[in-house]
């Protein structure tokens, strides 16, 4: 063997050892995990997840499906992002497995077409994304338990980049939630008592479909219930005139209780006295959820009769330390959203608030500490009641500049909608923050000290009573005068925050997504009352998004600077449009000829004016955009050209200095 051959063989040996060695080392240390240096430790299991894993009562199997081979076969480079995400999901699941000490077992599947793995994926409800005629991509997770529980994340893929980023941001929460739900033998039951049909009447999707096919109106459940609460809890309807709350109900969600009959109030009271958890949403005016009936709106004889869209639970909650302050509304100009009025003016309306930051969301309470923003509309004000042994803590408040105001039903719900401009004028800044959500804790006493109120009897009921008596008298439940142990309940002075327009936004492809933290607040409240802070803490985990604050500030300042101008232009445009409408309505069959030439001339002038104003508006918007783009251009230019130019300049200076030095040395040498 020549020395050259020996060298070549030696080189090959070294390289093979290096690549194979690193490959084997990678495989061996794959499950070791790494050091997460991100600020919020986003790639490390949070304490909440660890808490859930530690509390697992039995072994669970996590089945991760990813079509790795299909990805290789397709060979499209756009696949890389899902490939990388798969590794991240797998590593995170391995971290769960490591921490579980054997309670969680991770199984990985690579489903090929027509294979047993593909069948298993289909059976578990993992979504298949078609790639070719035969190839499909599975990328989902199922958590199963020996007891038969089975929970699934159907897919980790979202074709929209923005949504994919969101999916990645809340991955840990989704997995922990899945494990948490799968580990329970039965879901906790939430009873929903409401004067509105917010659960869709407990209809199954099939029943709903049948009714739709028959052309019968179908009331949809609110998304907060359907896509929010139902994911974690079993939801059961409680009739609005129920005389007893079922023993199997763990939590009672009372939403917009309008003039509940005394026996129902008593049932709620006794539910709380026996230690049941209550969350109540009341409202001096529920705008989205409680609309007047259709017939009343179309009343041909004059205007619609006044519709009372208010609710409260003061008969009970006054005794327990906090109550709705009459029909007063809370407001805050600092938090007011920009809304368009009847006259198409855009104003900051104090009654439509976005409550955010430590000033509004209590940082001392786990329920609200890490929420981002709560949206409320025509919310009421809560007032603390002095009740011995009861502690009341505000959860959500306005800023100290917040205030209260009142409104008549005419101002709130005329045929043209609420008079927002008029209502905004009625608002007066206060000296202290107004409470809109609060938690009361203590050993509550009954609001019915005289015991169970007598039920109103009618003939039909009497007949039923007789038949019941014939079957044998029912054992009367024992009246409870006070809670045996300390209990808590949460009272919120807004119902609109739970409605679809109040909490959800329409995404691309018609998919709904949460518009704010309203649903998070409800889930946090339920979890808090359940004593489960684990999911709350994961839910509170910071998002990946870190916005450019400087750009946002520029936008905000530009909006504030031009707000009045934009309003004035919009108002002028509206004025011209109204004039144009008047002009067209004046033309009748008789005077159309006479008016034609004059009207045509005026119409042209008005249209020109509207166009002019549209240009002005566009210029204002363009100025804002120019400012933002200007900042971007200067940052880009500094980095792309500025820094290299400085380096080049330094190079040139050094080059000339060195040349000069050399020349001097040569000259010195010659001399």
């Amino acid at each position: 063997m020549t020395s050259f051959t020996r060298t070549i063989l030696g080189l090959c040996f070294i390289l093979i050892i290096a690549f194979c060695g690193t490959f084997i080392f990678s495989k061996v240390t794959e499950r070791w995990g790494g050091v997460d240096l991100t600020e919020d430790s986003v790639y490390t299991l949070s304490d909440g997840s660890k808490e859930i894993i530690d509390a697992l009562p039995r072994q669970l199997t996590m089945k991760l499906f990813y079509s790795k081979e299909a990805a290789t076969k397709i060979g499209a480079d756009w696949f890389k992002q899902f490939h990388n995400f798969y590794y991240y999901v797998r590593d995170l699941l391995r971290a769960y497995e490591r921490h579980s000490d054997g309670k969680l077992v991770l199984l990985e599947y690579d489903p090929r077409p027509f294979s047993d793995e593909a069948l298993e994926a289909d059976r578990l409800g993992i979504r298949r994304w078609p790639l070719t005629e035969t190839e499909g991509m599975y990328f989902g997770l199922a958590v199963t338990s020996g007891a038969g529980a089975q929970e699934t994340i159907a897919t980790f893929v979202d074709p929209r980049p923005q949504m994919q980023a969101q999916l990645q941001a809340r991955l840990e929460y989704d997995i922990s939630e899945l494990i948490d739900i799968a580990s329970r033998r039965k879901k906790t039951k939430v009873g929903v008592l409401s004067s509105l049909n917010i659960t869709g009447g407990g209809m199954t999707p099939y029943m709903r479909q049948m009714m739709q096919m028959q052309g019968r109106p179908v009331e949809e459940a609110w998304l907060t219930i359907e896509a929010g609460i139902k994911r974690f809890y079993d939801v059961e309807d409680v009739a609005k005139d129920a005389t007893e709350i079922d023993e199997t109900i763990d939590y009672l969600l009372v939403v917009h209780p309008k003039q509940l009959p005394e026996p129902t109030l008593y049932a709620i009271d006794q539910f709380v006295m026996r230690g049941g958890k209550l969350i109540a949403f009341v409202d001096p005016h529920c705008f989205y959820g409680d609309r007047p009936p259709q017939q009343a709106q179309q009343n041909p004889f004059g205007g619609p009769p006044p519709h009372d869209a208010s609710s409260d639970l003061n008969a009970l909650t006054k005794t327990w330390g906090v109550a709705l302050d009459g029909k007063l509304f809370s407001g805050d100009l600092n938090l007011g959203q920009r809304v368009q009025t009847r006259t198409r003016r855009v104003i900051r309306f104090p009654g439509a608030m976005t409550l955010a930051g430590p000033e509004c969301l209590s940082q001392a309470e786990t329920v609200t500490a890490d929420l981002d923003d709560i949206g409320m509309l025509f919310s009421g004000a809560l007032r603390k009641q002095d009740v011995e042994g009861v502690t009341v803590t505000p959860l959500i408040t306005t800023t100290p500049q917040g205030g209260t105001w009142s409104a008549s039903s005419g101002e709130l719900g005329g045929p043209m909608g609420p008079d927002l401009e008029g209502l905004a004028k009625k608002f007066k800044e206060g000296a202290d923050s107004v409470w809109v959500a609060a938690r009361a804790s203590g050993k509550f006493t009954t609001a019915f000290p005289d015991g169970k109120p007598e039920e109103p009897k009618d003939e039909e009921a009497e007949g039923e009573d007789e038949s019941e008596e014939a079957e044998g008298p029912e054992e009367p439940s024992k009246h409870l005068a006070a809670c045996a142990e300390e209990n808590s309940f949460i009272l919120v002075a807004d119902v609109d925050m739970l409605t679809d327009p109040g909490a959800w936004a329409q995404g691309v492809f018609g998919m709904s997504q949460m518009a704010n933290s309203n649903v998070g607040f409800v889930l946090n409240s339920l979890d808090y009352l359940a004593g489960s802070n684990a999911l709350i803490s994961i839910r509170a985990r910071k998002q990946f998004q870190r916005p450019f604050e400087v750009v946002a500030q520029i936008e905000k300042e530009a909006d504030l600077r031009t707000e009045e101008q934009v309003q004035a232009i919009n108002a002028e445009m509206q004025q011209f449009r109204d004039q144009l409408r008047d002009l067209n309505s004046k033309a009748t069959e008789k005077n159309v000829g006479l008016l034609q030439s004059e009207a045509y001339e005026n119409e042209r002038k008005l249209e020109a004016k509207i166009r002019e104003k549209e240009y002005e508006l566009r210029d204002l918007q363009k100025a804002k955009l120019d400012e933002i783009e200007g900042l971007g251009a200067s940052i880009k230019n500094t980095n792309i050209f500025g820094v290299p130019a400085i380096v080049a300049l330094i190079g040139l200076v050094l080059f000339f200095m060195r040349n000069k030095q050399r020349r001097e040395q040569v000259r010195g040498g010659v001399a």
């Binding site: 240390t29 070791w32 792309i640």
Partner: protein, 244 residues
């Protein structure tokens, strides 16, 4: 001062003795910033440097061989390699000296990209963890590419050939993790057991987590092992030439 340090110092000065270093730095800084901003570093309005780090493996795949190509090829062409190896320095010291000089040069190149970090920090509140781990990953990767470049420079007298072959190898080690390459490997060898191995060879696979802010031992070991392997190979080649 050890022999390695002396060689490193001489080489490092050598870079800045010619306009080459400045041209290289300008091209690198311009490309790095241009690619990052072209891909929406500003328009995304999100304070992170993911797009900036995304292009590092690709940039280094061509720029590192450009810096490394002259380390030994030039010495061999001009015949100074014999002179160098007759000096009281070992081949190992000479290789390490030259390598560390090149690596330090890349360190400076990376430091000069800090204005991009400052720009993002001015615009928002970026997470510093992924930024520093991204830089660490980029620095280690630059070392590995440089070692590959050094090896091919030692292999041939022709700088251009050294550059082209080293660039191809570096590019392969970047592309290896791409699904299109894995597909080609899969269909060529008619077996799927090789694909995880090829995928594992990719710098992208190892760099991905680092630019996200997570440091794993296996990723660091991979980059250092590749660096060491190619430097040892360079030493074998030079020893063989010395023996001749």
């Amino acid at each position: 001062m050890t022999a390695t340090q002396a060689i490193m110092k001489r080489e490092f000065r050598g870079y800045f003795g010619t306009p080459l270093a400045y041209v290289f730095l300008c091209v690198f800084l311009m490309l790095a910033a241009f690619l990052a901003f072209r891909d929406g570093l500003y328009e995304s309005r999100d304070a992170n440097l993911r797009v900036f780090f995304f292009y590092m493996p690709w940039l280094f795949a061509f720029l590192a061989p450009a810096i490394a190509m002259r380390t030994w090829a030039e010495e061999r062409r001009t015949g100074t390699v014999e002179l160098l190896l007759t000096l009281p320095v070992t081949v190992k010291q000479a290789i390490l000296g030259k390598f560390f000089a090149g690596w330090a040069f890349f360190g400076i190149a990376l430091v000069l990209t800090l204005p991009i970090v400052f720009s993002v920090a001015y615009l928002g509140d970026p997470d510093n963890g992924p930024i520093w781990t991204g830089y660490l990953g980029a620095f280690l990767m630059a070392g590995a590419y440089l070692a590959i470049g050094t090896f091919f420079s030692a292999l041939t007298k022709n700088q251009v050939i050294a550059f082209i072959i080293a660039s191809l190898v570096c590019a392969f080690l970047v592309f290896a993790g791409q699904p299109s390459v894995l597909k080609a490997v899969d269909s060529f060898f008619l077996t799927s057991w090789l694909t995880p191995f090829v995928e594992q060879m990719s710098f992208l696979t190892h760099y991905d987590l680092m630019q996200r802010g997570v440091i794993e031992l296996r990723n660091i070991v991979f980059m250092l092992a590749i660096t060491a392997a190619f430097l040892v190979c360079s030493a074998v080649i030079l020893d063989e030439q010395k023996a001749r």
